[in-house]
Structures are given as C-alpha cells and as structure tokens.
C-alpha cells in the first residue's frame, strides 16, 4: 500500500492563511478596531495595535473599556469559528476559496472583567473554547499587554452555533 505524499508546506500554509484572512475579512468591525490575528499552526493570538482612537479616558490615558470588550469579543468569536473551520478545512470538507463560507456564531451573553487599566500600548488576546456543543458553545478569553502573566481583562462568552 502506498501512502499519499504529504502536501508541500507552501500549499498547506497558503490554504490556512487564506481561510483565516477570509474569516477575518468577513467582519468589517474587526477592520474598524484595527485588530489582526497571528497564527501558529491552529493557535491564534488576536493583536490590537495601539491607536489614539482606542483611548477612553485621555487623562490617564487608558484604553476605552468598550474597545477592550469589543477586542475580547472579536478574539472569542474568531477563535470559535476558526477552530470549527480548522477540522473541516484540514480534512478537505471546506475549500477556503469556496463561494459560501460557514456563518459566524452569534453572541448570546458576554461577561467581561476589567483587571487593570489598559495602557496606551498594543494588546494581545487568546481565547479557548471550553465547550462546543451542536447548539451552544462557551469561550473564555484573556487579554494582556506587555506582560503575559498580568492580564488586563478577561471574558466569558456563550454563543449560538450556526445551523449546519
């Protein structure tokens, strides 16, 4: 029995990058915030480069709580959609160039805790899907700035999964 040779790395990488780019481009609000995603294999880190329009209180100055919440929510929803997409893509069930792309999950509840004030610096976030069911999913997400061990905000979100 002959095994199928592994795909060249460029093919694999470009497929994964195309799928992620398409997922992110599908949400105009991510562009408004100026957020992006770093990918290492299937692991995503959301990145929010600092911009003066993200400031809430110019006196401190600190990131706006709403901008922080929005960043966490974006990180959570993309992680959830990406991890669903990943398996389908790797097993060849979804083509990143296909006309129809799976719908995004919908936020049901979103709870954010502010741990310290957000500094006028870049922020990073990583989300973890704690439970994925057919109808509902739960995601935890944490954001930090200079120091990974000192998160400045964390959130838990429940999502309604799209109909298959």
């Amino acid at each position: 029995m002959t095994r199928k040779p592994p795909e060249p790395i460029e093919v694999v990488k470009s497929r994964r990058e195309a799928a992620l780019a398409r997922l992110v481009a599908g949400v105009p609000y991510i562009g408004f915030l100026g957020a992006g995603f770093d990918r290492r294999g299937d692991e995503l880190t959301a990145v929010l480069p600092f911009h003066p329009s993200l400031i809430g209180n110019p006196a401190i100055p600190a990131l706006h709580g709403g901008a922080t919440a929005a960043f966490l929510e974006v990180a959570a929803i993309i992680e959830l959609a990406w991890s669903s997409l990943w398996q389908d893509m790797e097993e060849g069930r979804i083509d990143p160039a296909a006309e129809t792309f799976p719908a995004l999950p919908k936020t049901i509840t979103f709870t954010v805790d502010y741990l310290r004030s957000g500094l006028p610096r870049d922020a990073y976030a990583r989300a973890m899907v704690t439970r994925r069911g057919r109808r509902f999913a739960t995601v935890q997400v944490e954001a930090w700035q200079d120091n990974r061990a000192k998160p400045f905000a964390q959130a838990t979100a429940h999502f309604l999964m799209p109909e298959p």
Binding site: Y29, T109, F110, Y114
Partner: protein, 141 residues
C-alpha cells in the same frame, strides 16, 4: 440644551473611542444617562445581514454605564468598569441607530452598580441588556 448637557456632550467628544463610534448624549439626569450611536457600515459584524457587531454595542453600553455613574448625585471624581455582563436578545435592525439607557441604581463608598438597556427604533423589544459594576473614586474631602 442645558449647561449640564452641553458639558456632558463636550465630555463625550473628549473620549476618543466614543467620538470615533459617533456617540451622542441624548439625556442625562441624576444617576441616569442615555447615549445614541448612529448606524455605521464600518461597525457591521455580519455582512450577510448588515447587523452591527456585538462589540460596538458593548462599547456603547459601557460608555452609557460609565456616564450614569459620573452623573450620580454622589458626584464621583472618576470611574472605571470592574465588570459588565451583556445579554444579546436579538440582532439590531440594520440601518437603525442604537440607544443605550443606563441607570446607576446603587453606590457604596467604592463601588457603583448599573443596569443598562440597548434598543433600536423598536423600543418595546430591547436588543441587549446589561449589568455592571464600576469603581467609584470619591472627590477628595
């Protein structure tokens, strides 16, 4: 427009993120604030439907809640969000402005408690509701 409203509007204009989202203070009274955010295609979460992203609505609700704390009769010097939980009940109707009404219903020496509701043009069916706690910095005695 009353002096207080002019002042509140000026404060909103001084918050860069609130300004970039186009937020406008439409009412303010003791411990209560109403802020409106116009519909903007840049804030869309799902292009297939044109529905606004939850993050934009969270930002509006957070801002209205903070404003309600700031106009509480205890006259806080400053406030910051400790936590905020938002339940999204239905998608906001595309094309309509979102209005958040926040009530700071209780304060202790250090913490303020807020309830906030977001509606689109159909005010009988809220888009989202939230509960938050905020830090309260008392003015120096």
């Amino acid at each position: 427009m009353t002096d207080k409203m002019t002042q509140a509007q000026a404060m909103m204009q001084s918050l860069p993120h609130a300004r970039s989202l186009g937020m406008i203070v439409t009412a303010m009274s003791a411990g209560q604030a109403t802020i409106t955010m116009p519909y903007d295609p840049r804030l869309i979460g799902d292009p297939a439907t044109g529905v606004l992203h939850g993050g934009a609505i969270s930002a509006l609700m957070d801002t209205a809640s903070g404003a309600a704390v700031m106009c509480h009769p205890s006259a806080p010097a400053a406030t910051a969000t400790l936590d905020l939980r938002i339940d999204y009940m239905r998608p906001a109707t595309p094309g309509q402005a979102i209005t958040a009404r926040a009530v700071c219903h209780h304060v202790t020496r250090t913490v303020a408690f807020v309830r906030v509701t977001a509606t689109d043009a159909d005010e009988s069916r809220p888009v989202a509701m939230g509960t938050g706690t905020f830090t309260l910095e008392r003015p120096p005695a």
